[in-house]
């Protein structure tokens, strides 16, 4: 009887221990996960200025081959981002605050980003990442984070339904505070992949 009772208590204790272990482990895991994101963001926020080279491939349903452009990106904290395409032609996209100015050899377009979130969402998500503003990213996206500080992956899914009509997801890969790859999938499944190198 007694041993039987003890058995019950033991089993209960074992379960209790197991349960706490589980909870503790999960919490520890989560903390580790959160701390990784926080560390990456912290690293980004320390960087006030960066310049990188990029090579972008745009895959569009109506094109046989992707459009390939390359050039460099310049970021100045907190909100200035410029993308200069140099090959095969010169095009500049500059964001300054709320304004996006696009210049080609023949035309200049000025776009207010607040009015056209579908244009701005990609660039602002890059700005938010580069300035380490995780809160801003969380406001706009459901975020999935994978990996460690030295090799991480972010998957950003737009929360806004209007933007989801244009953009399916944005993926970003990196190593510490170096962004190495950006993948954008549009709602119509057109997508682009940007490889980033030569961080300086």
């Amino acid at each position: 009887m007694t041993s039987g009772k003890m058995n019950h208590i033991n089993k209960f204790l074992v379960l209790l221990v197991l349960f706490f272990n589980l909870v503790f482990n999960m919490a520890a895991h989560a903390t580790e996960h959160d701390s990784t994101v926080a560390e990456v963001m912290n690293l980004f926020s320390q960087q006030k200025k960066s310049t990188v080279d990029f090579k972008e491939e745009k895959h569009t349903s109506f094109l046989e081959q992707p459009i390939i452009s390359s050039g460099y990106l310049e970021f100045i904290a907190p909100d200035r981002l410029a993308k200069y395409i140099t090959v095969p032609e010169k095009i500049s996209n500059e964001i300054n605050g709320n304004q996006l100015v696009i210049k080609t050899s023949s035309e200049t377009h000025t776009i207010n980003l607040k009015e056209h979130p579908e244009f701005s969402i990609i660039l602002t998500s890059i700005i938010n990442l580069l300035s380490g503003n995780y809160e801003a990213l969380k406001n706009n996206f459901t975020i999935k984070f994978k990996g460690q500080v030295t090799s991480w992956e972010l998957e950003l899914l737009p929360r806004d339904s209007f933007i989801r009509g244009h953009i399916d997801s944005i993926g970003m890969h990196g190593n510490k505070n170096k962004l190495t790859k950006i993948m954008v999938t549009e709602a119509n499944k057109d997508y682009s992949v940007t490889h980033i190198s030569n961080h300086r």
Partner: protein, 777 residues
């Protein structure tokens, strides 16, 4: 006595039934018009000017409002401009709102209301981009856009790879050459943001315009709350609403103040405020009758005539005043009226006949005014004669006025009279002579009842938003729209020389948007055959990454366009672009009218001499500013010459009943007062317009009245004092009402008020000077 009562009863019954009949008629048939063109001559040599003026005031342009935001930093202003546009466009009373933002949701447009235009795109503008080189350039440009990340044209790429349609739409923006800042329109100084709002009102009456304006203000308020931002709104609707409220407030203010002051005046002079209301009987009857009679004769009454005519009839209040002043306790009012009747009658008849001179000028406004004034004057005379005496209580207490004693012993020597007359004439001659060329207004807008401030703001805003220039236009009329468009096109072709020679910046024509069917067929012929297009595209795309058959929708559309029936004006009018061309193509008075406008004329003289050599173009040319100013001066000259003719009539009538010298003494103070009134206005820098001239007629009427009453032989010192009193009260009451009017916000009423005030003051002083103490009977 019995007889008198019967006569009075018959008079009252006739009077009341006449008033009742007039009121019933007015309620059912009064047709008030307010177009400035209806105030213009019936068969003026340049009817086109009127037509254009009318269209500018009543046509589609009248539905536009301009909003200006200023005061804060430009970024904030731009952002408010955008928010305001978004808010206003949700309002059903508001059509499109333009603030310079580019139409970026092209796909959405094409799916909806622009579908028809999109289908016709290759018929609406030239098709010159179908060569291999042009196609290649277009497609490479689209690839560049893809590279930049602008996905704007991605959805129309397969159907319209040349952006043919969006380039067509952007012509609209070319028309408004506005400065852009932060993506929206700003004025040239880049200090204030500008928006253009189209009202979309089914019922365009004042109440609905007011409501729409209130809604706009409600939309603006939360956006500018707690910010240091000034919002100005202008446009025809806004001016109309402001004019109405200015008129309402003037009326309230005028009638309130005048009522109090006049009651006080009547109390002071007759110790009876109720006499004032009796004095109103002739005036009120005159207004009602004059309105009815004018409406019967012309089938309509112009708003300006109503406002102006009513004030002109203000003289009618003088008639009962003379009666009251001559009346004494001891007399039957009938006796009193009989004693002054010949003088009253002569005054009214001569003034009425003077107004006859305004008839038959071809200027509808003058004719209406003449009829209004003549009928009003005669009715008020009749009411004063047969109605007022019965209302005059026998026991009314006439106040002894010490001032009359002083006035009645006043005398002037013949020498001082002569010197004063010469001094007045010299003063007037000097002033008028020095300002002879500049004293007349040539601006037609001076005739409009819009408050001066609102008019100024409107000019300023129109100028800053680059509203269509109307100074150099070409007007073409035709019954047939197709022929009209063809004629417009050949005119534009001819005018293009000016653009090539850089004499003008731009030429705007409706054919920029809807070419004639003939031209549309020409554009169709420019389109390549299907095979040719396929071959060209294949060659071009061979070196480009586009998928095979991707441009099949484009090829299909181009081939389908070759078989389309050209779009008609009627069909085009169903599209959203109709709003933009309504000021260039409209139907009026059984004709379709097309207006071609020049903008940025560098050298007006060179342009005019070029037009002189172009026989096919010259007859269509209208210089609105020049034409309206010549119209204005015609109008003024006619009115002025008729005024002189009227004065001549008065002189002749007087000559029939008075000897020449007496006539001279009666007329001299009136003529001098008129001259003085003009000179004072000119001295104060006012530019005289039609209304000033018409106001002179009123002065003539009033002054003549004073003169005639002085001219009447007097029976006793008391009788003499009565007449002095009557004239003094008449002059004071006129000065009170017109003095108040002189402060009105409405330029027309202010002009009238000031002119009459100076004139009446002049009349009073001068008649006193020249007529005082004539011999006893």
């Amino acid at each position: 006595m019995q007889n008198n009562q019967r006569t009075s009863l018959i008079a009252h019954i006739t009077w009341l039934s006449f008033l009742l009949a007039s009121l019933v008629y007015l309620f059912s048939s009064l047709h008030v018009v307010s177009d400035i063109s209806q105030f213009m001559p019936d068969d003026h040599k340049n009817k086109d000017v009127q037509l254009l003026l009318d269209e500018l005031q009543q046509g589609s342009t009248a539905r536009l409002l301009i909003i200006r935001l200023s005061g804060d930093d430009t970024l904030k202003l731009a952002s408010i401009s955008k928010q305001l546009r978004a808010t206003l466009e949700k309002n059903t009373h508001i059509g499109l709102v333009h603030n310079g933002q580019k139409v970026l949701n092209l796909q959405q447009l094409i799916n909806n209301e622009y579908k028809l235009l999109f289908n016709y795109r290759y018929l609406l503008s030239e098709n010159t981009a179908f060569t291999k080189e042009a196609l290649s350039a277009s497609l490479k440009q689209r690839l560049t856009e893809l590279r930049t990340g602008i996905t704007l044209f991605k959805n129309t790429l397969a159907t319209d790879p040349q952006n043919h349609f969006s380039r067509f739409l952007y012509r609209l923006q070319e028309r408004a050459k506005n400065t852009h800042l932060h993506g929206v329109w700003f004025d040239k100084d880049k200090a204030s943001a500008l928006l253009l709002v189209e009202l979309n009102l089914k019922n365009f009456d004042l109440d609905h315009q007011q409501q729409a304006l209130n809604e706009i203000n409600h939309a603006i308020d939360p956006l500018t709350k707690n910010k240091n931002i000034t919002v100005d709104i202008s446009g025809t609707a806004s001016m109309a609403v402001q004019t109405r409220s200015a008129i309402q407030s003037t009326t309230k203010w005028l009638s309130g103040t005048a009522l109090i002051l006049m009651s006080l005046l009547f109390w002071w002079s007759y110790r009876s405020a109720h006499l004032f209301f009796i004095a109103m009987l002739p005036l009120a009857s005159a207004i009602i009758a004059a309105l009815a009679i004018t409406n019967i004769i012309f089938n309509q009454v112009h708003g300006i005539i109503i406002a102006f005519g009513i004030t002109l009839l203000g003289v009618c209040i003088d008639y009962p005043v003379h009666l009251f002043s001559h009346h004494t306790k001891s007399r039957d009012p009938q006796q009193t009226i009989l004693s002054i009747w010949p003088t009253l009658r002569l005054g009214v008849i001569t003034t009425a006949l003077a107004y006859l001179a305004m008839l038959g000028t071809g200027f509808t406004g003058l004719s209406q005014l003449a009829v209004f004034a003549i009928s009003g004057l005669i009715i008020s005379l009749l009411v004063t004669r047969w109605i007022v005496p019965a209302w005059l209580r026998l026991n009314f207490n006439k106040q002894e006025h010490p001032y009359l004693k002083h006035l009645s012993i006043l005398t002037f020597s013949a020498k001082s009279r002569l010197v004063s007359a010469i001094a007045v004439i010299a003063f007037c001659f000097l002033i008028i002579n020095a300002n002879l060329t500049s004293m007349w207004s040539e601006n037609i807008s001076d005739l409009s009842p819009v408050p001066a401030k609102a008019k100024l703001l409107d000019q300023e805003l129109r100028h800053s938003i680059g509203a269509p220039e109307v100074n150099h236009v070409f007007l073409i009329k035709d019954h047939d729209t197709e022929r009209l468009l063809q004629r417009t096109e050949s005119m534009v072709t001819r005018l293009n020389v000016l653009k090539q020679n850089k004499q003008v910046n731009n030429i705007f024509s409706v054919t920029d948007f809807i070419p004639s069917k003939q031209t549309q067929r020409l554009y169709q012929q420019q389109l390549p055959q299907r095979n040719e297009l396929v071959t060209n595209l294949n060659t071009v795309t061979a070196s480009l990454p586009f998928k095979k058959y991707f441009f099949t929708p484009f090829i299909d559309d181009v081939s389908a366009s070759k078989d389309l029936n050209p779009i008609s004006v009627a069909e085009f009018y169903e599209t959203p672009l109709a709003k933009h061309i309504q000021q260039d193509l409209f139907f009026k008075e059984n004709n379709w009218i097309s207006i071609v406008r020049l903008s940025g004329v560098h050298d007006e003289a060179a342009l005019l001499s070029w037009i002189d050599t172009e026989a096919s173009i010259k007859p269509h040319y209208l210089n609105l500013r020049q034409a309206t100013s010549s119209l204005m001066s015609d109008y003024q000259q006619t009115a002025l010459s008729r005024l002189l003719l009227g004065s001549l009539i008065i002189g002749l009538i007087l000559l029939m009943v008075r000897p020449l010298k007496r006539m001279g003494i009666i007329l001299l103070p009136v003529v001098l007062a008129v001259l003085l009134s003009i000179s004072i206005q000119v001295l104060l820098g006012t530019q005289l317009n039609l209304f000033h001239i018409l106001a002179l007629l009123l002065i003539v009427g009033i002054g003549l009245d004073y003169s005639l009453f002085f001219d009447r032989k007097w029976t006793s010192l008391e009788d003499y004092q009565h007449r002095l009193h009557g004239i003094f009260i008449s002059a004071s009451s006129t000065l009170i009402t017109f003095g108040i009017l002189g402060f009105s916000d409405i330029p027309v009423l202010a002009a009238l008020g000031q002119t009459v005030s100076y004139g009446v003051l002049g009349c009073f002083v001068l008649t006193l000077l020249f007529n005082i103490k004539r011999e006893k009977a």
